[in-house]
């Protein structure tokens, strides 16, 4: 394993990104301008020189900006590790390009879990229904935006 580069004295122009899933390495050591991650506290933009941070991700859109090109992924959950040397590691259980999402299935799922939330009796059932509503609402918002 290669050692991580040291923190440079001046802020580099690019952010180095690693984005991994359990079954593949989606982005490997790529230099980009900016990423915007769906942190549980809100969308978080990461530029070169960002302060070292660890943040939990919620279901939402991860966008990778390179010049005028923007690649958008929908991540199910995960974590982002931003290091002091302008390297960001993003891990997720599932991530898909936004254009692979089927809008009709999202609407169906949203309706189904909203109904389940209304009829849930135990705390666990309520939590499962709430997760369903949260994920499908986030998918819906991803398609709209």
């Amino acid at each position: 394993m290669k050692p991580r580069p040291p923190t440079p004295a001046s802020i580099p122009t690019k952010l180095t990104v690693n984005f991994v899933l359990p079954y593949k390495s989606e982005i490997d050591n790529k230099e980009v301008d900016m990423v915007i991650v769906p942190a549980t506290t809100g969308q978080m933009g990461v530029l070169p020189g960002h302060v070292a941070t660890i943040t939990e991700l919620k279901p939402g859109v991860l966008s990778v900006h390179e010049g005028n090109d923007v690649t958008k992924y929908f991540v199910s959950s995960g974590f982002a590790f931003v290091h002091a040397n302008s390297v960001a590691d993003i891990v997720a259980v599932e991530a898909v390009p936004v254009d692979q999402i089927d809008p009709s299935l999202v609407q169906k799922g949203l309706a189904e879990f909203t109904a389940k939330l209304g009829s849930a009796s135990t705390d666990l059932e309520k939590a499962e229904a709430q997760i369903g509503v949260d994920v499908h609402s986030a998918l819906n918002a991803a398609l709209a935006g």
């Binding site: 079954y23 549980t40 506290t41 809100g42 919620k58 279901p59 929908f74 199910s76 959950s77 995960g78 259980v93 599932e94 898909v96 692979q100 999402i101 089927d102 299935l105 999202v106 799922g109 705390d123 666990l124 309520k126 939590a127 499962e128 709430q130 997760i131 369903g132 949260d134 994920v135 499908h136 998918l139």
Partner: protein, 90 residues
């Protein structure tokens, strides 16, 4: 979303683990994919379990389960419960 405002997220308060929560989220996302991506994701996530009961010092005939990804989290919970009792898988 209530998950972000409370000190403990709602799913944790309901007794779920982070692994359980994140696997459910991932399964829901996979279910909303267009074809052929949905089938690809489903085949990738397929999990097989072979569970055999240990009785009279011998392993009985194993049962094979072929499961989709959403159910395997519940299977893990079940196997954990079984291991605490007399049934010993693996």
């Amino acid at each position: 979303m209530s998950a972000t405002t409370a000190a403990v997220p709602f799913w944790r308060a309901a007794g779920m683990t982070y692994i359980g929560y994140s696997n459910i989220c991932a399964a829901l996302v996979r279910n909303c994919l267009k074809e052929p991506f949905k089938s690809e994701a489903a085949s990738r996530e397929k999990v097989h379990f072979s569970v055999a009961k240990w009785a009279d010092g011998k392993q009985e005939k194993p049962m094979l389960w072929k499961l989709g990804d959403l159910t395997w989290f519940f299977m893990l919970q079940l196997s954990a419960q079984m291991m605490n009792k007399d049934l010993v898988p693996w």
